[in-house]
C-alpha cells in the first residue's frame, strides 16, 4: 500500500501539471476553435525562463515563478498577435500547422540561448520529503499539486463570476453575437492566450523542478507537455473542468502503469510502455467517445 500511495502522489503531481497545461489548450480552443500545439513550446520556454531567473539572475524560486508567469502571458499575447492573428479566415488545417511550426521553432531557440539539458530548477524544497507513516512524498510534488489547485480555483472563479469570465464564455458560444454585445473579441482571444501562457510556464517550471517524475530540464519536457493533449481529449476539448479531470486521470494512470510495470505487465510489453499510455487512452477515447467526458457533443473532430 505504501508504494501505491507514493505512486498516487507522484501521479497526482504529474496530473496537476497536465491539468495546468491542458487548461491552456482548452481556453484557446474555446476562444478560437484551434488546438494550439505551440502550447507545449510555451511550456519549454517557460521552464527555461524560470531556470534563467533563478540560476542566472539569482531570484528566489517564487519570485522566478512570478517573473515566468508574466513572461508567459506576454509571450502568449505576442505569438497570437504576430502569428495567429495573421491567419484569421484561413482554413483550420493551415492554422493548426502554423501552431506546429511555432512549436518546432522552440527547440532551436532554447538550445541556442541556454543549451539543453540543464540542471533542474532549484526550489526551496530540494529533495525534502513529507513522511506520513511509511509513505514518503517529495515536497515539490505537493507544492505542484497545491499551486495547480490554487491557480485552477482562481481561474474557475474568474471564469464563472467575473464580467470578463462571462465574456469569455459568451465569445466561445458565438463570436459575432458577443461582438454585438460590445465584447472586444480580439481582446478575449488575447486574454485566452495570456492565460494559456501563464499555465504553460507554471507547468514547465514544475516539470523542470522534477515535481512529477524525474524529468530534468531539457527540450524533452515539450514531449511530456504534449501529453496534456490526451488529457484534453479525455476531458472533452472545450471543457475547463474536463481539463482538470482529464489531466489528473492521465497523470495518475501513467505513473501507476510505470510503477506496477514489473509486477503486472505481460512479458511482451517493453518497459517504458507507461509513457505512451496517455496516447493509447486518447485513441480509445477518440474511437469510443470523441467528445470526451465533459465535452460538447458537437465537438467531434480534431
Amino acid at each position: 500500500m505504501t508504494k501505491f500511495f507514493q505512486l498516487l502522489a507522484s501521479g497526482l503531481a504529474l496530473g496537476a501539471i497536465y491539468a495546468l497545461v491542458c487548461l491552456g489548450f482548452v481556453v484557446i480552443y474555446r476562444a478560437t476553435g484551434v488546438i494550439n500545439f505551440a502550447q507545449a513550446g510555451l511550456v519549454v520556454l517557460g521552464a527555461f525562463m524560470v531556470y534563467n531567473a533563478t540560476f542566472t539572475w539569482g531570484l528566489s524560486f517564487w519570485l522566478a515563478l512570478l517573473v515566468g508567469m508574466l513572461f508567459g502571458a506576454a509571450l502568449g499575447i505576442i505569438i497570437e498577435r504576430l502569428v495567429l492573428r495573421q491567419m484569421v479566415r484561413q482554413p483550420l488545417h493551415a492554422i493548426l500547422l502554423v501552431t506546429v511550426g511555432v512549436l518546432l521553432l522552440v527547440e532551436p531557440i532554447v538550445t541556442t540561448i541556454w543549451r539543453s539539458p540543464q540542471p533542474s530548477i532549484d526550489t526551496p524544497f530540494e529533495l525534502d520529503k513529507l513522511e506520513i507513516g511509511d509513505v514518503r512524498i517529495l515536497q515539490i510534488s505537493i507544492a505542484a499539486i497545491v499551486i495547480a489547485a490554487i491557480v485552477l480555483a482562481a481561474f474557475f472563479l474568474f471564469f464563472r463570476y467575473t464580467k470578463y469570465g462571462v465574456a469569455m464564455r459568451a465569445t466561445a458560444v458565438d463570436q459575432e453575437a458577443a461582438l454585438m454585445q460590445g465584447i472586444n473579441v480580439n481582446g478575449i482571444i488575447a486574454l485566452s492566450w495570456a492565460i494559456a501562457g501563464v499555465v504553460a510556464v507554471l507547468g514547465g517550471a514544475m516539470l523542470g523542478a522534477n515535481a512529477g517524475p524525474k524529468t530534468g530540464l531539457g527540450v524533452g519536457i515539450g514531449i511530456i507537455a504534449l501529453k496534456a493533449l490526451p488529457a484534453m481529449v479525455l476531458g472533452g476539448l472545450d471543457s475547463p473542468g474536463g481539463a482538470v479531470v482529464g489531466g489528473l486521470v492521465i497523470g495518475v494512470a501513467e505513473v501507476l502503469a510505470g510503477g506496477y510495470y514489473a509486477e503486472f505487465a505481460p512479458a511482451w510489453l517493453k518497459p517504458g510502455f507507461h509513457q505512451v499510455l496517455p496516447w493509447i487512452v486518447m485513441l480509445v477515447v477518440l474511437l469510443v467517445r470523441p467528445y470526451g467526458l465533459f465535452g460538447t457533443k458537437k465537438v467531434q473532430r480534431l
Binding site: 479566415r89 462571462v166 465574456a167 464564455r169 463570436q175 453575437a177 454585438m180 472586444n184
Partner: protein
C-alpha cells in the same frame, strides 16, 4: 457658417446612399437612404435577399465579419458618423441589435446573458436599474434567471435576446425578424413590447417578414428590393397599398394567394429590380 442638421431635429439614425459589396464582387445594397427618429418604430420590409440584414450589418459594424464592405454612402447616429467603427464602439455609442435567429448564449444562464448585454457599461447603479426594468418588461425571464438559456422556449429566447439588447441601454435598437418562427400569440406580445420600447424614446428599426405585424406597429415603413428602397410611406398607408398587400401580406385583389403564387411573384419582382 450656418450648419443645419446637427440640432435635435437631426434623425437618430440617418443612412444615406449606402452601397455595400460582399467579397469585392456582389453588390447587395445600391444606394439606400433611410431615417429612424427617436421614439419611432420604422419597419424595413422586403423578400429574402433584398438586403435587409445587410443594411443592419452595415449600421452595427458587422459587415467585416461577413467579408462585406461599404463602398459608398454615410451612416450617422445622432449626427455623428459611425461608418467603419468597430462594433464595440458603436454599441458604446448607444446602438444595440437583436440578430436574426436570436443568437442567445445557449450555454450561459439567463442572467449571464443579460449581464453580457451590459458589457460596455461601467455604471453599476444604472445596470441594476436597467436589469430591474428588463425583468419588469419580461416577467418570464425573472422566473428563470438561473436557468441555462438554451433550455428556454423559442419565444422566451426571443424575449431574452431583446432583454439582453436593452441591457446596453440603447438609443437605437435594431430588430432582425423578432417574430420568426413564433406562435401568433407570442408574436402579438413581441409587437406590444416593441411599441413599449419605442414609447420610452428608443428608436427602433424593425426588419420583418411578417409585414402585417411590422406595419401595424411602425409609424413609417421602407420596402427594399434588389438592394434599393422601392417604396416608403406611413405604416397605415403601406398597409392599405394594394401592391404591398399582394407582395408581402399574402392578399391581393383576388384575396389570399397560395404560398406558391407568392413565391413566384416575389422572385419575379426581385429579378426585375
Amino acid at each position: 457658417m450656418l450648419r443645419v442638421g446637427e440640432d435635435s431635429a437631426a434623425p437618430l439614425l440617418a443612412v444615406r446612399n449606402l452601397e455595400v459589396v460582399y467579397g469585392g464582387a456582389i453588390t447587395v445594397l445600391r444606394g439606400v437612404s433611410l431615417d429612424v427618429s427617436r421614439g419611432a418604430v420604422v419597419a424595413l420590409l422586403g423578400a429574402n435577399g433584398a438586403g435587409k440584414t445587410t443594411l443592419l450589418r452595415a449600421v452595427s459594424g458587422l459587415l467585416s465579419v461577413h467579408a462585406g464592405r461599404v463602398e459608398r454612402g454615410t451612416i450617422e447616429l445622432d449626427g455623428e458618423s459611425i461608418l467603419g467603427e468597430p462594433t464595440p464602439d458603436i454599441v458604446r455609442r448607444g446602438l444595440a441589435q437583436v440578430m436574426e435567429g436570436r443568437r442567445i448564449f445557449a450555454e450561459l444562464s439567463v442572467d449571464e446573458n443579460l449581464r453580457a448585454g451590459a458589457f460596455t457599461r461601467r455604471d453599476s447603479d444604472g445596470i441594476r436599474d436597467t436589469h430591474a426594468h428588463v425583468l419588469e418588461m419580461f416577467p418570464v425571464l425573472a422566473k428563470r434567471l438561473r436557468d441555462v438559456a438554451g433550455y428556454l422556449s423559442g419565444g422566451e429566447q426571443q424575449m431574452l435576446a431583446m432583454g439582453r439588447a436593452l441591457m446596453a441601454n440603447p438609443r437605437l435598437l435594431l430588430l432582425d425578424e423578432p417574430s420568426l418562427g413564433l406562435a401568433p400569440l407570442i408574436q402579438q406580445q413581441i409587437r406590444g413590447i416593441v411599441a413599449a420600447i419605442a414609447a420610452e424614446g428608443v428608436g427602433v428599426l424593425l426588419v420583418e417578414q411578417n409585414a402585417m405585424l411590422a406595419l401595424s406597429v411602425a409609424s413609417w415603413g421602407y420596402v427594399l428590393e434588389g438592394g434599393q428602397v422601392v417604396r416608403e410611406g406611413a405604416g397605415q398607408e403601406l398597409l392599405d397599398d394594394e401592391e404591398i398587400r399582394a407582395a408581402y401580406l399574402g392578399t391581393g385583389e383576388h384575396g389570399r394567394r397560395s404560398f406558391k403564387d407568392l413565391k413566384t411573384y416575389r422572385r419575379r419582382r426581385r429579378w426585375s429590380g
